[in-house]
Point group: C2
Chain length 291, copies 2
Amino acid sequence: MNIGIIGLGVVGGSFAKAIRAHLNPSHKIMAIDIDEKTIEQALSEGIIDYGETTNQTILQQADLVIIALYPAALINFMQTNNHLFKKGAIVTETTGIKTDMIKALKDLIPDTIDFIFGHPMAGRENRGLDYASAEVFQGSNYLITPTENNQQETINWYASFVEAIGFKRVTFVTADQHDEMIAYTSQLAHIIAVSLINSDLENRNTALFIGDSYRDLTRIAKLNEDLWTELFLANKEELLKAINRFEIKVQDMKEAITNDDRLKMKGYFVESTQRRLKLEHEDSKFTQDSM
Amino acid sequence: MNIGIIGLGVVGGSFAKAIRAHLNPSHKIMAIDIDEKTIEQALSEGIIDYGETTNQTILQQADLVIIALYPAALINFMQTNNHLFKKGAIVTETTGIKTDMIKALKDLIPDTIDFIFGHPMAGRENRGLDYASAEVFQGSNYLITPTENNQQETINWYASFVEAIGFKRVTFVTADQHDEMIAYTSQLAHIIAVSLINSDLENRNTALFIGDSYRDLTRIAKLNEDLWTELFLANKEELLKAINRFEIKVQDMKEAITNDDRLKMKGYFVESTQRRLKLEHEDSKFTQDSM
């Protein structure tokens, strides 16, 4: 199979490495990246077999195209290149929003390809090929949002494909479900991390006073401002709802603390403990196709 | 040296294991734990040399006593046992609050011992000896709050001692500084984790939609409700200030998102990224005695 990867950042690069590590070595991996040096590095490290900085021949040859670009770049790529895909190709994208993205690409997807909207729930807070790894997908969730234009067998095949390169669980969800859940699990988490670290007072040598909790909670405060501004605004309504629900819980807690209401405080902690235990239990299950 | 450890939970147990693993094997490690089975387990695993469920002989023999009990249990232990310490013993506690604790123990510390208020910034969200390990302190911060009754050389010796068992950095701070910083780095982090997981809507199979961000941000939502209720209320004023500052940042972010204010959003993300990078840089330094 000829596999084309568009964008050799941490996601595209990890796809390339994971395919190389976990699948039949006879697959030809080709990549397009606007950065010449990234292509050179990927070639010299043996991550890809062939590379281009703009499409010359790759889209015409690829049976599977994985577009690992930011939302705006993905739309732009489709506008420029949508007439070049091989007939019958499976093409997929990897962005963190679905409702807006499906709308944006609606008229840009030719009838001759099967285009799958997908979201690998894995990544790194660092950017670029240097942080890509064959193992970054291990044990992670993958979300697929089928559209009416998808062939069921293509989607099933792609689900098996991502499981073969390391994802532990593929879930099929509607665009609305996807965006509602992601607003909470991913976007709100980033808002919280940013707000936590930005609420620190200056010049107080915070590093001397931190444990793993603070390290963990601020890890994702290091983020790409262009990408996340795009993602947040493309899912604004759901995100604001998630923030509001979170703010209410913080407010409840503040009230209980202010009133020395031990009973309420303990109730919140017992609830959070139970929820986290349940999450760990569910997260440790390996299941497929929970549609 | 005879070392007495009071409470073989995750902190006390890790002290025992780390002393065994990193220091001269001729130190005699003795422990008091109210749970007979915990003492039996610690003896059979060779973590301790001798154990008791209530003090019979340990405090009379120990040159160093590490009290790894929750705040209320610590006060209770001192009330019951403060006349039993060996003359000249170094005694230390490990709780996460200092102003209230120093006040509470003020009249309970005999002149014949050197009592050090300390806070190991390491732990596990799970309780008990089973989760103790010799490595849990590796690379962690240790805070010491000297009082007017401490001998400088005792404090310096204890700082070296905790570094020898794995802590990377010891900082001497006043009780006020300690509680102000901990309100932010530890207590607020726990409030956030609890509020995040408790703000989830029920029955929506959240585990299928999570990545490492959500896993990391909710890890500490699993917490001991009695301990944390004590800790929060003992540091109420500083904690409420920290929550308020955090809430303002969330509010600012919400406003920027509501108004599609890309410039402000990007500004917040650039700031959080810079702060996190600075934190990583400072956190990676190994320094001592930053008083």
